[in-house]
Symmetry: D3
């Protein structure tokens, strides 16, 4: 493992094709990408361990990507990893506004921390994990929105 380490945090409940697209872009730009799955306080559809397992399964082909769960403050997690860069995908104006606010607060907690925003391919610009969960709950086809491995996990769940 050489080169710059970046952290791509999220709930990934579950990992979508849009998340995967951002991971691939980050992995092409930076030396090592830590996909950091947040424990999250809200009722998640999948428990943390399963969200980590799903992401690891999907992203396994990418040599410079690792997947870990975390349940601390993001700024502390990034510092503990010796990293300084957080990557976030932004699709909408609402995403951007919230993310920019978070990035500023994180900079105050850890002044060396820089948040780098990427946009997914337009193909994935409307894919939302929240809507994917709704579709799966109603028995709809989610194969266009999530990686194949995730379809299986969703089917077992419902």
């Amino acid at each position: 493992m050489t080169g710059t380490v970046v952290v791509y945090p999220g709930t990934f409940d579950p990992l979508t094709q849009g998340h995967e697209d951002i991971v691939r872009r980050a992995a092409a730009l930076f030396g090592h990408v830590v996909v950091a799955v947040a424990a999250s306080r809200r009722d998640a559809l999948f428990p943390l361990a399963e969200r980590v397992a799903i992401a690891a399964e999907v992203l396994q082909p990418l040599a410079n990507v690792e997947v870990v769960g975390f349940d601390t403050l993001l700024a502390d997690f990034v510092r503990a990893r010796g990293a300084k860069i957080v990557v976030r995908g932004v699709r909408t104006v609402a995403d951007f506004e919230y993310e920019a606010q978070l990035a500023t607060m994180n900079r105050k907690l850890y002044p060396d921390l820089e948040t780098v925003f990427l946009t997914p391919s337009e193909k994935y610009s409307s894919v939302s994990a929240t809507i994917v969960r709704e579709i799966a709950r109603h028995g709809g086809e989610v194969g266009q929105f999530v990686p194949a491995a995730v379809v299986a996990h969703l089917q077992r769940k419902f």
Copy 2:
């Protein structure tokens, strides 16, 4: 019943004057309007059957409007009705952004489905069912925001 069938989905918890305005506009533009009341997973103020009954009572004067409840995927409901057009009212930038995202995902689930956005009269551009529920909960006057029949339902509730 002749002409194009369109589906106007929503939670309608409860139906506001803004919703009624959109139904009237849709009924003037298209042959038949199906007001589709979503079961919704969130804790609704009114149960589905009552939301359907309220909407039916209010919209009864409109000859080409019918009200039904549904608890499936919207795309599946629209297809099952033999329809291809969904109507949505948009008031704010936040509404629009979320609705556009949903419309794109629905198009992937059912490629023939088109979502048509209408704007309510400016008189209703700030009316929100969420705020109406808050006002009613505190015993405020909601007669300017919801049809008369809905005022009675809200009074019985609180």
Copy 3:
């Protein structure tokens, strides 16, 4: 020509694949689509007659679409055509906010007028005629953004 007449106004300087997508959607929803090319006061790249000719050439395969230029108030044009529906494509939050404002003012000028908003396919959600002109001006490839006939017009221009 039977069925509902709708007007799709714009500057179309030049017609993009995104505009074409909206025309196709409108033509599938309504009986007759009048693509109304606005004279526009700003310095257009193509004169009105050429913008009309380009749009007519591209849209010629669509049987229920006609292309005309106009230099009056949109509300007056729509009324003169005996129409009541304006179609507009919206891609961004900024588009939507301006278009909703315009729709409200047009409703005051002509109370029967309804503006119906459609979203283009996500493939075209970032295509902007302004950016297309910039690319063409610098000799860039615009074939991914405009119909083939428009590429030729742009090449003759620069």
Copy 4:
């Protein structure tokens, strides 16, 4: 107490440096500022009495500011105080859109009521009580975001 009375409502769960900044600005513009702490139906981190106590402790040095809790409709509270002006701080586009909607509905409930929007110093433009609670929950340093007295309350809580 002389001069115009204004009401600055909020949940203040807890009071942040951004809220304090808005109170100071309101207190410089108007004769008397009532900081009105809303009971709120959502699960608050601090109970109403503690939120009132915290705000009162922090704002005690400001002679023309008082802090009270309320559990009625805001429009009714403002009228009962004999006031006509509500002050709200806005940081983001999303804040503004929601606040403008609320202001319009409040005007209908109480036509004399005017909502006046202020922007905080840019130093506080990203401070959010929601994110502060998240940071405190994870044991992070919140001293840059909330007044010193609030840090102590948060530490006792977690």
Copy 5:
């Protein structure tokens, strides 16, 4: 003239019913309102002197309102008037974002300066001077958007 002086700046090219609504609200909240008509570098439809004259004619019934033209930096104008408060009307998210940016820069130029944002009545929430000029230019009816005195000025112009 007693009480707080506020400055309401703008181009007012021409004064609309929306502007008039904001002036009335400001005049109800504050002791004295200076409507400050900016010279503006862009090609205005009406020269500065005429914009001042139109605004003065329309606002003449309001005892605590005065109209003046200015061609200096707004922060300098406000300071020279001995005022500390600028009033701005905001209708849209785009308005708000630009105005908030300007307010922050003005605070840096003149730290005592506070910008207070008001929202117009929803009746005027879509009225834009830019669109009014377009309508007047095409001979459309502007009587629903501008005060009667302004209609006459627009008719003489076109």
Copy 6:
């Protein structure tokens, strides 16, 4: 010069403290930063050569930053430099929406091109070159918004 080359394009008319902040952040993240000053078709305050000279003067202390002018398509410029990453600063929702659109179109012109968005320090989040030019034109103090060297250039200009 080793490490990843990134291009930070803009008009820089003139370079502000906000631009300088983004350059410093980019220079800390990447091996080499090319500040690419666009010729721009709009009437710029400073001619291209002077904008390049100003930026070069201000950024001279940064060892891994170079400043060049360009008058081609951005995607072509980036490719010609052998680079794949464009850096853009975003302050507002409107900025973000336009930049995301541009990033998508640039990706179609040059599929390897990735646009990376950074946010400036909140101190600079309201600094706009357009407003700086307005202030300077009216003889206002711009020293809080632009680097010292730029103040001198602006003074000579007005």
